[in-house]
Structure formats: C-alpha cells, structure tokens
Amino acid sequence: MSVAEDTLEKTSSQRDGSAVPTLVVENLKTHFFTRAGAVKAVDDVSFSVKAGEILGLAGESGSGKSITGFSVLGLIDPPGRIVSGAIRFNGEDLVTASPERLQDLRGNRIAMIFQDPMMTLNPVLRVDTQMIEAIQAHRKMDRKAARQRAYDALEMVGIPSPGERLNAYPHQLSGGMRQRVAIAIAFLNEPDLIIADEPTTALDVTIQAQILHEAQALCRRTGTAMIWITHDLAVVAGLADRIAVMYAGRIVETGQTDEVIDHPLHPYSVGLLGSVPSANKRGDRLNQIPGMTPSLIGLPSGCAFKARCPRADDHCDATPEVIEEMPGREIRCHHPHRQEAGA
C-alpha cells in the first residue's frame, strides 16, 4: 500500500497549490451527422473542474451527459465529431491534440469508469494481466513492481484478499467487485481527472454505497478531479461538490450542490427535483414534468424545455444565453425561479 499512497499524497499536495482548474470545457459542441439530420448531442456546453473536486453531471437519458464525457476523452466516433469549442486539460487543448497525444493521456492522466464493468474488462484476460498492461502502457516499470502496484490499487478500493483477485478472470467476480476493479484501474496511474459514467447504476444499493464511499475517499485523498455522470440526483446530492444539470445537449444550471438542490433556479431542475419521490409527501401525487424528453433531431429553436415548461412564453423562442446569477451559479433560462418564489 505504502508506495502508491506516498506518491499519491505528494502529487495531491502539489496540485492543491495551483489555482488553474484541471479541466476547462468551453462552448463545446459535439454533433452527430446522421442521414436524418444533425443530432446536437452536446450543444454549447461549458464547465470546469478543479483538482480534488467532484462535479456531478446530472441529466436524463439523451441529455448528452455521456457524450460530453466521451468528448473530453476524444472518444467520439464518426458520424459524430466535435464541431467547435475548446477542452483544456491542465492548460492543454485536447480538441486539437494529436491522436497519439490523446492515447498518451487516456488511462494515464485522464481515466474513465464506465457503467458496465463487463464491457471495460477483457473477459479472456486475468485481472492482473489487464492491470499490469495499463501501467506498462504508460511508464517503464518491471512486471513485479507493476503487479505490486496493482495489488495496492485493489487494496485501496477495498477488495478483500487482493492477491487472489489478481489471479481471477472478470467473470469470476461479482458485479460490485468488477466495478471496483474498474475503479482501481482508473486510479492506477494516479490520473488528474476521472470521468465516471453512471458507474453505480447497475449495482445494488448496498454495493452502490460502498462504491460511492471508495470514490469519494480516493478523490479527497489523492486530489483527483472527478466528473460523476448520473441520472440520479440523490446520488450526486451526497457525493458532488458542484452539480451541472443537462437537458437536451445543454447545461441548464450549474452551482454548488446545496444551492442547486435546495434552491433550483431552472424550471427543469425544479421539475426534476420535484419528481423525486423522497421530495414529496408520502402517498401524494408526484410533481411530474409533463411530456417527454424531445428528440435531438430537428430540435425546435429556442429553449429546448419550452414545450414542457410551465413558465414558457414567447421569450423562450429565443435561445437563452448563460446568465451568471451569482459567482459560480449559472443558468440558461428566461424565467428562472428567483428568490421571489420564496425558493
């Protein structure tokens, strides 16, 4: 445990000194050019994450939250591509970076945890082979030291008897255990940024709590910045420092977790929070949002939420610009729920 932890502690203290955010995304547009038309999966998205910070990226399916994550890693395949915008990772632009440079960063400085650990782990390779490969791909280290490092990483994410697990194949592990291995691999090279795409959605609540616990503790200890993509606001409420809510390819609201959950400003955030059962009185009807998420093909101009929004009027036919309500609090709405609503 000691070797890995020492280096981790050191890097984190170094990082804390710098005020530059680890990741800055500016006006990112990722579109998919299909026969039916351009799908604006990510449309003018801007956000940033600092070292040691957990950003919760919340939204329903089709809101573009996963594509935002894939864009950062340069994992957009044709017919999709990044149309415009900048992704700066530690000051370096990733949109214009060469494929070799991205290859060098992925799994090394930026890691990703996917929803389904069965997809990310190679079913025909033992856990240790995969972990050692991930280390040796990015640094010169002999096999024995790399294996020790893999052992430490498994121990760090709370896997009992890591020695045995190293020799196991992915199918011999349970879902929760596999996801921990995936998380351990993400942390192997002490990345500056981890993008977690719904890593606990497929897991049971008790296992989800364990994974959240590990992820949170590791980020605090290592100073790794994290983007936690989820559809479950209750998960990010307990985990994230800041929340960004996405709807139809745009971030509609950003702010500190407490502020967004307690005083949501955008009608969509208000609706989304209102439809969570625990926010309602037991047995009462839930405050549902009418309608359904729009198709991203041929999205009407203006605010994408206007058809479902109780506050929509003629103003909403114009695309709302990002307004900074207060420092660190941004919304995209013509009629936000400001304080007069009593919050």
Partner: protein
C-alpha cells in the same frame, strides 16, 4: 379499506411458499457420478418459506437486493411459476386447486407488469392487438367491440388511442410501460404485481408512471404488490413494506413505522444506504461484503456474516419472524 378486510379472507395469501431451482447434472456429470465422482445436483433456494397476506386495496412494497428472490416471489403470486412448496391463495382458495371458471377468474384477477418495456411487448403485434387480444379471446369483450374497448383502456393509461395501430418500437420507454399497464388492465384485474415496473425509466417519466399507478388504484380499486430495489419509490407508494434477504423475509411493517425505525439490522443498513436528496456531502458508511450466493447460503441467519451486531446464535439457528409491534414482524435474534 380496513372495513373490507374484516369481511373475508385476504385477496392474496401466500402460505409457506418456497421455490427451489435445481441445476440438473448433464450427461458428463451423470457419468462422472456413476464412476464415483462426488458430484451433486446444485439447488438454489430462491424463495425459502415466505408467508404474506395482502388485503384488498393494500399496496405492499417488496424490497431487496438483486438475487434475494423478490422477483421469483412476484412471479409465483402472479401464477407464472408454480411454487415448489406451499400455496398461493386467492380469496382463501388455493390457486393450484382451482379449475374451470374459478381458475380463469383467479388468473384474470392477478396481472403482472414487467420491468423491461422493451422485451415484454411482442414487437410484431400492433398495440391494439397487444391490449385487445386477451379480453377478446376470453370473451370479456366481443370482437366487434375490441376497437372501442382498446380506445377506452388506452385513454385510461394516458395514451392517445390514435396510436393504437402502431408497433411497440414506435414508442418511447415511458409510453411502452403504459402499453404494458394497459395490457394488464384489459382483463379487469383486481391485483397487479409490478416487478421493477419503473426501474428502466427516466426520473421525470418515473414520476408520471407512479402517478398513473396511484390514479388507477383509485379508479379501479386495485391492490398492488410493488416489487422494487428503489426504496424511495417504495416508501412513497406503499402502505406496507416487506424486506427480503436471500430468499427470506426479514422484516414486515407499515411503511411509516419501518422508515422511521427499522428493526432488523439488514433493514437498518439498507435504509441508511439509500442516497437521499437531503443528505449532503455525507460520508458513506457501507455495510461490508456482498449478498452471498444462494447456492450456498450461510447457516443460521442469512445476514450474520455481514451483520455488525451478530452474536452467538446467529450463526447456528434460523431466526423466526416474531411480532415486535402492531402489524410488524421481524426475524432477528436480537429481539429474543
């Protein structure tokens, strides 16, 4: 509702129901056994001696982690799967012993709504036929009246009847779930088993479907067995909650009482680990370990290897469900 209860037997009663799945030996295994290899058939106790009674108008939530047997129990209640032991009673009579019209009545009365709205609808049938087939075949509606009847049911579940000539793939997930609900309602059931019926849906659509369930309950006097791993949903909709762990019921109580003060250590752990909007920046304090394999469950109390409060008898004696308050039972040695 409680007045109805005293009038007769409960709508659905489950008596000592167990379900075992046996993995039979293949030919190679049988030959190996004949040659002296110590091979045994493997048995999974998916459901192990569960009792439960559900009164008319009740909404019972059935909660547990994956692999605890909640779906298997739901399927046995819905009559899709026969129990290995025990009996499922409809209005006081064993469903397995019924025949003729009585059996039909019991079969219609209990309908099931499935988790996955993509695989539970026949992709090659139009919505009209999916919803209308069963009532026509069973003579509940004349064939001529099917079209109007389908319109009526679709309107009830919030779908535009103009869409009934479409195929399931032309609908979104939330709409498909409404089609599944319409199909169940078409045979005029009294009791719906909802097996993770909203798990596959987006948050805003989940709220719509939960509201629909509550509206339908009022309109048709429905009784629900609501199976879910999502405690916040169960807390919202249920009057009574049953918590299962590895094939056994560990605690049953009124929803309010249970969520206020769970008795069984597993119930306590489960409830404390549900992420909630009002808990911020919390330090997650997870229970250790994972649900053991039902092929080889631990002896005594199934939960004892993960239980922070386990002591002497937990590893040897199976705890029995005991009354620990009004309408409340729990199976834990700590209550002795």
């Amino acid at each position: 509702m409680s007045e109805l209860v005293s009038a007769g037997p409960p709508l659905i009663e489950i008596q000592g129901v167990s379900k075992r799945f046996v993995k039979r030996l293949d030919i190679a295994g049988k030959i190996a056994r004949r040659l002296g290899a110590g091979l045994e058939e493997e048995t999974v106790h998916a459901v192990d001696g569960v009792d439960l009674s559900i009164d008319e108008g009740d909404v019972v939530g059935l909660v547990g982690e994956s692999g605890c047997g909640k779906s298997t129990l739901g399927r046995m209640v819905a009559g899709i799967m026969p129990p290995s032991d025990g009996a499922v009673l409809y209005k006081g009579r064993d469903i397995a012993s019924l025949s003729g019209d009585d059996k039909l009545e019991a079969t219609f009365a209990v309908q099931m709504i499935f988790q996955d709205p993509f695989s539970s609808l026949n992709p090659r049938m139009r919505v009209e036929d999916i919803v209308g087939e069963a009532p026509v075949v069973h003579g509940l509606v004349p064939r001529k009246g099917m079209s109007d009847y389908v319109d009526e049911i679709l309107t009830k579940v919030g779908l535009d009847p103009a869409l009934k000539r479409r195929y399931p793939h032309q609908f979104s997930g939330g709409q498909r779930q409404r089609i599944g609900i319409a199909r169940a309602l078409a045979v005029k059931p009294k009791f719906l088993v909802c097996d993770e019926a909203i798990a596959a849906l987006d948050v805003s659509i989940q709220a719509q479907i939960i509201n629909l369930f509550m509206d339908l309950r009022e309109e048709f006097d429905l009784t629900y067995l609501f199976i879910s791993h999502d405690l916040s949903v169960v807390e919202h909709i249920s009057e009574r909650v049953v918590i299962m762990y590895l094939g056994r019921v560990v605690e049953t109580a009124q929803a309010e009482a249970l969520f206020a003060a769970p008795n069984h250590p597993y119930a306590q752990a489960l409830l404390s680990e549900v992420p909630r909007l009002d808990q911020r920046k919390r330090d997650f304090q997870p229970i250790k370990g994972e649900i053991p394999s039902p092929l080889d469950p631990p002896p005594g109390c199934h939960f004892h290897p993960r239980c922070p409060q386990s002591f002497g008898p937990c590893s040897s004696a199976r705890p029995v469900l005991k009354s620990i308050g009004p309408d409340r039972i729990s199976a834990c040695h700590l209550n002795d």
